[in-house]
Amino acid sequence: MAQLIPFTYRPGNSLLHRLDVRLKFFTICLISMSLLSAHLPACGGYALVLVFFFKTAGLNVWETLNSMKYFMLLLFFVFMARVLTVPGDILFVFHDISISEQGIMEGGLVAFKFFLVMVTGLIFSTTTKPSSVKSAVQWFLKPVPFVPEKRVAVMISLSLGFMPVILKQAREISNAQKARCADLQKNPIKRILRLVFPLLKKTFLSADSLVLAMESRCYTDDRTDPEFTPSGNERCFFAGTVVLCLSLVCF
């Protein structure tokens, strides 16, 4: 799992690690939305702020860029699409394609914004425990009608727990089949079936025993609420966020 998914939680004790998860959550939404209407100078300023938090969160620049390479490709795509389609002062013409200054500027800005939102999210997920994220989701869902937020929280935990188990079993099944020369099978439907059906069957049967284990541990929807531990820096952080968002929108 850890190799597959680069942006997992890393334990630590930085300002961001200790901050109340609900505030972090709120902050990230606010910043992402403000970024959408921000102009280049503001984005540049925000990038500097991010660099600071990037260091605080203890992330490695090279590792991060490397793990984001597919996303970068997508960004390049977005950039090129703008460059090729936005009209304006022609910078140069290559065969039939004309590239405008506005196109480069606009494409660059859009790609830059997506990049910033992405890095913000990344800093959030590396400094926040999955269980805190789950608790925050439960807390935010509480006022939403018709949503059993405690059940949702349990389902989130369960699915996060299933993921490594499924991956491990997928690897085992695939190896067991390779050992019997399954690679020779050319029929794609059969290849899908041979991997997926045993995997589903196995995990559903183990889900049945999980149901029993949960029942025997008295599972109900009416459970103790999660606890949040504010670090005491929340007010300052929140004030900082508001100032940041206002300047993002204004400049």
């Binding site: 389609t85 389902m155 059906f197």
Partner: protein, 177 residues
């Protein structure tokens, strides 16, 4: 089995499908030039196995944990940026797709032919949401959005739908739903 245990069973099964959808973004079967990624197959399967309501809950929870910053979207990325990024339309399209697929399959009696029909419609809904979204975000033309965001994946989708129909038929007796 009494209703509480039945409810708990569906809760656990739904959570299991959330995990499969998340992992589906990473399991690829290398066939031809475009590897077949299994994520949308698990979305459709969630619809026909869990039914419209639990299926909808399943996709909603998947999107929710991605939105909440857990790395479950393809490429290990997540968050609002991803959901509103160029490929966000496909992800949001899973919501109506799973509901419609589940409803049709349930309404027509969970036969193999009705499952295939349900999943075809579900796939079209995913593209119906994904392609216009791609067009708006990247500002490319409609034709181009279709050539890049739909055509290369269609052969794989057909294969996945057939495979999913077979899987559903074999899986239902095992899990007794």
């Amino acid at each position: 089995m009494n209703t509480t245990s039945q409810h708990l069973k569906m809760t656990v099964y739904t959570a299991l499908f959330v995990a499969f959808i998340a992992i589906g973004a990473f399991i690829a079967i290398p066939i031809g030039p475009v590897p077949i990624v299994l994520q949308n197959m698990f979305v459709l399967l969630a619809g026909i196995i869990l039914g419209p309501v639990w299926g909808l809950a399943c996709v909603a929870i998947y999107l929710l944990i991605g939105l909440a910053g857990m790395p479950v979207f393809s490429g290990g990325t997540s968050g609002i940026g991803r959901l509103f990024g160029p490929t966000g339309g496909y992800l949001l399209g899973y919501l109506p797709a799973v509901f419609v697929t589940g409803s049709i399959s349930k309404g027509l009696g969970k036969k193999m032919s009705s499952d295939i029909l349900a999943m075809l419609l579900g796939t079209l809904i995913v593209y119906g949401a994904g392609v216009p979204w791609l067009k708006v975000v990247t500002a490319m033309s409609f034709g181009k959005a279709i050539t890049m965001g739909m055509v290369p994946f269609l052969p794989g989708d057909i294969l996945k739908i057939i495979a999913a129909a077979v899987i559903a038929r074999r899986l239902r007796p095992v899990i007794k739903l």
